[in-house]
């Protein structure tokens, strides 16, 4: 399979939106390059006494709207182009949610499965030692991502605090609760999607109490969205799936019972009193809301004509191909694009920064309430834009994000 350069994809998206917004070519050119990149070498003493040097990156794509924000990935196949693309994507996402933040991303080329806890700690601290001058609560705020976790964030925060000689909780988010983490992070992504779906139902005239839901993927996001749609909005969740297959019961499923079943058997399939169907069948079910929550590219030009849901809420990253997007738009399916629908996570990360600045921490309810406001506002911004320009919801989301970034750059006098 030919390798696709993810950063090229970002540039193509920019071109498409530039067309809609009629942006000047030199402005587009400015947006197409990351503003700052760090390439660092990280010598780390391994448990057996040997020294190994790891390669790391940090990309601050655009900080026109504020300090850059974005995760740190520890991945053996990490490349600078992946990090660049993801940093650009964070820029648009933060702008779309109207967070006062720019976008960034970091990565270290390493295989965490080959490293002991001590080695991981030394690597994490080495990374901070290499980039500390260029990050900070008001400069660039990393977060957990692929193969990094709250423990690694805690080590990094500690290392940064040491070099700065003071406690600096706000330098990083996704920390453990005991070190300034935010309440409500566990189901933040699903909860963000929940608020979007609730508002979308209003604009689409869908009675949620009678709405049926199918959830593809039953990991963290899939489970929580199923649970919340049922408990908070009274929807009938009638099908869920994982990599082993899908289950369906038109009378409705109990998401918690399914979760327990999965914990015991590693899969949702064979949950009692349900019918076993394929993942493909689930996507084409006659339901009101479809939540792809696991893999990329599951809705394609091939099956898009057969999608019957009225709302597609993309909790996964990139579940719909561009061709399928067009087909769904023409069919009148209301798509909640991924970088709107799954932005609850980054929003609560932002709340964590805010609370760290404040030195005062909110209850879970307060977090939810503020998240609701952010998500609702973002949804309507996208919805209105899509109507205004007569473009699909994804294009509308990009348009808003670019517009906001360009406005900030212009106000600063950069362009």
């Amino acid at each position: 399979m030919a390798e696709i350069n993810p950063f090229e994809v970002v540039r193509k998206q920019l071109d498409a939106c530039g067309e809609i917004l009629k942006l000047e070519p030199e402005v587009l050119a400015a947006l197409k390059e990351p503003m700052r990149e760090m390439h660092v070498s990280l010598p780390v003493r391994m448990d057996d006494g040997s020294l190994r040097t790891f390669k790391g990156f940090r990309v601050q794509y655009n900080d026109a709207r504020g300090p850059t924000k974005g995760g740190i990935r520890f991945h053996p196949d990490e490349t600078i182009d992946t990090v660049r693309a993801l940093a650009a994507w964070m820029t648009w996402k933060c702008a779309l949610l109207d967070l006062p933040l720019g976008g960034g991303k970091g990565g270290v080329v390493c295989n965490t499965k080959e490293m002991s806890a001590g080695e991981l700690e030394r690597l994490s601290r080495a990374y901070v030692d290499a980039i500390w001058k260029n990050i900070g609560p008001d400069v660039d705020v990393p977060a957990p991502d692929v193969y990094t976790n709250p423990q690694i964030m805690a080590w990094m925060m500690d290392e940064y605090s040491k070099v700065r000689g003071k406690s600096q909780f706000g330098v990083i988010t996704g920390k453990p609760l005991c070190l300034g983490g935010s309440a409500g992070r566990g189901d933040a992504t699903a909860r963000g999607a929940l608020y979007c779906i609730r508002e979308a139902a209003k604009t689409q005239g869908l009675d949620l109490k009678k709405a049926t839901v199918a959830v593809q993927g039953y990991g963290n996001a899939g489970y929580h969205i199923a649970r919340l749609l049922r408990s908070e909005l009274g929807c009938n969740v009638c099908a869920v799936s994982d990599s082993k297959g899908a289950i369906c019961c038109m009378g409705g499923l109990d998401p918690d019972a399914v979760c327990e079943h999965k914990a015991e058997t590693t899969s949702v399939v064979e949950f009692p009193d349900t019918e076993c169907i394929s993942n493909e069948d689930l996507l084409e079910m006659e339901v009101d809301i479809l939540c792809p929550s696991a893999l990329e590219n599951v809705i394609t030009a091939d099956n898009a004509p057969r999608i019957k849901a009225r709302i597609v809420a993309e909790l996964a990253n990139g579940p719909t191909t561009p061709e399928a997007d067009e087909i769904l738009h023409e069919k009148g399916v209301h798509v909640l694009p991924d970088f709107l629908c799954n932005a609850g996570g980054v929003t609560v990360s932002y709340f964590e920064m805010v609370q760290n600045f404040y030195m005062y921490y909110w209850s879970e309810e307060e977090v939810y309430e503020r998240l609701d406001r952010k998500m609702t506002a973002a949804y309507y911004a996208v919805y209105e834009t899509s109507r205004e320009y007569n473009i699909n919801m994804r294009q509308a989301a990009y348009v808003i994000a670019f517009k906001r970034v360009v406005e900030a750059m212009r106000a600063r006098g950069w362009i």
């Binding site: 390798e3 448990d47 499965k113 193969y147 976790n149 709250p150 423990q151 983490g181 058997t265």
Partner: protein
């Protein structure tokens, strides 16, 4: 029907012979036996009878060669089982109304060490001779066997005649003559002349009987069987454990003999046993032996390993004696197994089943029922009672320890049963449960799996006797349960290192909480913790996957219900008061495992994950296990695998209980391998030098080949997934499954990311004998992810050979043209699969090559493998 014995006087005395007679001559010397056997065969041969002389003893021949006599030699050195089976086969082949003379069967007791097996032989052979209307002569040396053995022989024989001499005159004294009677028949008769006269004069009779009575019922003193004799001599000479000196050749030979009787005669094992097992150890075995015979491979392996560790010097850096828990196991000797079979009329059934292959599981259930109805002799029952009294109500495990099990080259892993006895209740109830366990283990000697394993390895005819090891279950009570804190298996070499950082020479541990059954058996979706000794903290999963790949249920003994059971972890630990809990679990926080700080374990029990992280970080467990493995590996001179339990004391010190040790059976192999020289004319399909599991697979008929380039070009993910399902369907085709199938395809099989490789689950390929992951650099497919994952473990445990192949690499010698040109049989074998033909090739190798089959030889030690046509 009256049959002449060739001696008129004898015919008169006992009213002649009858078809079906087994005639036992109890003699003082061989010429006395020859005196009767010679005319018997002479007469029979002249009468055109089919005459057979069964020759096995070291004494001079009873019969010289003559026309009409067939001499068949059988070797008793190979053991009771083999010998009985051979004799049985000879009898079967000769058919009805054949006449037999056997050598003096007293020699068998010398060879097999006990009278018990001699009587067993007699008891299984005679009824068959009787059924076939033959007449057979046997001799026994008088006064050399135990009363109980003679009693059993007497019960089985139709005719038992004592032969003795008084004052130069020879007498016979018929002790048993079945179905014949005269008023004088059971009196002594003087041998001489045409007519042999019964001794009726009271004075003469008394004089003769005084001599005869002393011998009539077997031995006055000890038997000639070495079992007691050797032991007695050693005790006399060496007290209770003094080691015989180098110069004392006779005692050393006695010790050797003693060890052979208890443990067996495998040359590799002997080398180690000679070095490590002291006389004291052998005495200790005999003191705890129930019945007679050998203790079997599992028990021997355990004892040997314990001795190796105990004898380790301080240079090893470990005083193993303080780190190992003591054991107080009992052994049920292998002779007891045969006595059980013989007494309960199961021996012939077993003979039939081991020679004839196809036993269904339903049939086996019937066999099990017959075993369960069996009984043990009173002497054995008495020893069982004493043993159970000794254990009291402590839980025990009854483990198979067959002679072949755990020996060099044949692991028989999990082929025979082990039965837990919670051992609660009244003495009668405990005895009942124990007997049931023993009988189930005995029955498992002929379960269909074990039979097919034996046949596969060419062991169908070997002497396989089932000894039993009765061990105290290591552990402690918690709530109403009983289980060890830690249990598992460990290997001194690590053949599934998932990272190059891991040193395969230092071994790997599979660890579980609770009884070790979870570690040795493949239990659904439950995973033991894999700990590489060189880097104990590494695991194949990333942090967020840990929850999925951990142990969820715990095996234990329920003391109230008196049974083996398993419980969900969170239920067992709901009280959060299990001692040392902080060493065993991590708690899930934010989806990631967090290790307890100090002894504080936070979070609800549902969030407990068995990671053993603190055990690994804070205790000596891994270094102790590493030292044990390396010490045993060095002593054996071979990789070993061990089963163990371990318990942690309050001061975090660890004590290990070694349950079993055996030479490591590598995945797919049955012993050391050499890559054979490939004939120059043989066509090599590919080679691999980055191989991780080994073995030899012959005669592969089918190859499923998924073209990496075509697969990479498959446009839609749906189609890629369908290809995975198609592989599953091919796998299920009976024709394919039976013909042996090798699967080859791009990248990471079993990956959930369909772009990385063929999307299958283990169930889709479980019939494959080999799985080949093809790495084509331009297509972006890289194998190795299977390596170390649970998908890979499944392969290892099912002994499926796994090979990564780099076809673009010249060393791989990948035969591109073969795969391009071979005809595709996919659509014939799986109608409806036409549309997949561009991606999936199903090659019928002999059809494509004019009768050749694909062969794989993979040597895990040198990491080289080759697949060729032959």
């Amino acid at each position: 029907m009256f049959v002449e014995s060739g001696i008129r006087g004898l015919d008169e005395a006992i009213q002649g012979l009858r078809l079906g007679d087994n005639v036992v001559w109890q003699v003082e010397n061989l010429p006395d036996y020859v005196f009767f056997a010679e005319p018997f065969i002479e007469k029979a041969a002249r009468g055109g009878r089919n005459c057979v002389y069964i020759r096995f003893a070291p004494h001079p021949p009873v019969l010289g060669p003559r026309s009409g006599l067939e001499v068949v030699e059988v070797d008793p050195v190979q053991g009771f089982d083999y010998f009985s089976r051979e004799v049985n086969r000879i009898i079967e082949e000769r058919g009805r109304e054949a006449f037999y003379v056997f050598d003096n069967i007293s020699s068998l007791a010398v060879e097999w060490a006990t009278d018990e097996l001699l009587a067993n032989f007699f008891q299984v052979t005679c009824p068959y001779l009787f059924e076939l209307d033959t007449i057979a002569y046997f001799a026994l040396t008088r006064g050399k066997h135990s009363n109980s053995a003679i009693a059993r022989i007497r019960d089985t024989a139709q005719v038992l005649i004592d032969v003795f001499s008084v004052e130069g005159r020879m007498y016979i004294h018929p002790l048993k003559v079945w179905d014949r009677y005269t008023p004088e028949m059971f009196l002594p008769h003087e041998v001489g002349g045409e007519e042999w006269s019964a001794v009726t004069q009271s004075g003469d009779a008394a004089a003769i009987s005084t001599v005869a009575a002393n011998f009539a019922l077997g031995s006055r003193g000890s038997s000639i069987a070495p079992w007691d004799r050797v032991y007695d001599k050693l005790v006399v000479h060496c007290g209770k454990g003094e080691e015989p000196g180098e110069e004392d050749a006779e005692l050393l030979a006695l010790k050797e003999e003693f060890r052979r009787m208890l443990i067996g005669d495998h040359p590799e094992f002997n080398r180690l046993a000679r070095r490590y097992l002291r006389l004291e150890d052998l005495f200790a075995i005999r003191d705890r032996l129930i019945g007679t015979g050998r203790i079997g491979g599992k028990a021997a392996g355990m004892l040997l390993a314990r001795r190796i560790l105990a004898s380790a010097s301080e240079e090893d850096g470990f005083d193993f004696s303080s780190l190992l828990e003591d054991h107080d196991s009992f052994y049920i000797g292998s002779d007891v197994f045969f006595t059980f079979l013989v007494d309960n009329d199961l021996f012939r059934l077993r003979l039939k089943l081991t020679s004839n292959s196809h036993l269904t599981y339903e049939e086996f259930e019937e066999v099990e029922r017959r075993f369960l109805a069996g009984t043990f002799p009173p002497t054995i029952m008495e020893q069982f009672r004493n043993m159970l009294d000794y254990f009291g109500q402590a839980p025990i495990i009854v483990r198979s320890s067959s002679l072949l099990e755990d020996s060099f080259g044949n692991a028989f892993a999990g082929k025979y049963r082990s039965e837990f006895c919670a051992n609660q209740g009244t003495p009668e109830e405990r005895m009942e449960a124990f007997l049931k366990a023993v009988k189930l283990v005995y029955a498992s000697a002929i379960n269909p799996d074990a039979l097919s394993y034996r046949r596969k390895r060419g062991l169908g005819e070997s002497d396989e006797q089932m000894a039993i090891l009765v061990q105290r279950v290591s552990g402690m009570p918690y709530k109403k349960y009983f289980f060890p804190c830690l249990a598992g298996v460990a290997f001194s070499k690590n053949f599934y290192a998932w990272s190059s950082r891991i040193d395969p020479e230092r071994g790997i541990i599979r660890l579980v909480f609770g009884l070790g059954t979870r570690a040795v058996e493949r239990v659904g979706k439950d995973y033991p913790r894999m700990i590489p000794v060189s880097n104990p903290e590494l695991r194949p999963e990333s942090a967020s996957e840990v929850a999925r790949y951990s142990q969820r249920r715990v095996d234990l003994l329920d003391l109230e219900a008196n049974e083996f059971t398993s419980l969900p972890l969170h239920e067992l630990l709901s009280g959060r008061d299990y001692p040392g809990l902080y060493l065993l679990v991590s708690t899930v926080s934010d989806g990631y495992p967090v290790d307890p700080v100090g002894r504080m374990v936070d979070g609800p029990p549902r969030d407990f994950l068995l990671t053993f992280n603190n055990l690994i970080k804070r205790t000596d467990f891994c270094s102790i296990m590493g030292a044990i493995l390396s010490r045993l590996d060095a002593a054996y001179g071979l990789p070993v695998d061990i089963e163990f339990t371990a318990n942690i004391r309050q001061d975090e010190s660890v004590r290990v209980n070694l349950l079993q040790c055996r030479p490591l059976s590598l995945p797919g192999t049955s012993g050391p391998l050499l890559i054979p020289e490939i004939k120059p004319e043989a066509r090599v399909l590919f080679k691999s030098n980055r191989m991780i599991s080994g073995g030899v697979v012959r005669n592969i008929r089918f190859i499923v080949y998924i073209d990496p380039v075509a697969y990479g070009a498959v446009p839609s993910p749906e189609l890629k997934k369908e290809i995975g399902r198609l592989v599953g369907k091919v796998n299920e085709q009976p024709q394919v499954a039976e013909g042996r199938v090798m699967m080859m395809g791009p990248g990471r099989w079993g990956s959930s990311n369909i772009n990385l490789g063929v999307n299958v689950s283990y169930g889709d390929i479980h019939n494959a004998v080999a799985l080949v992951e093809i790495a084509r650099e331009e297509a972006g497919h890289v194998p190795e992810v299977s390596y170390g994952t649970h998908f890979f473990q499944d392969l290892v445990e099912d002994q499926t050979i796994y090979l990564p192949v780099y076809p673009d690499h010249p060393e791989a010698e990948f035969d591109h043209s073969f795969f391009k040109e071979a005809p595709n049989r996919l659509a014939d074998i799986l109608p409806g699969a036409e549309r997949f033909q561009d991606f999936v090739l199903l090659i019928d190798v002999p059809q494509a090559t004019g009768g050749l089959y694909a062969q794989i030889v993979a040597d895990p030690r040198v990491q080289r493998a080759v697949c060729f046509l032959e």
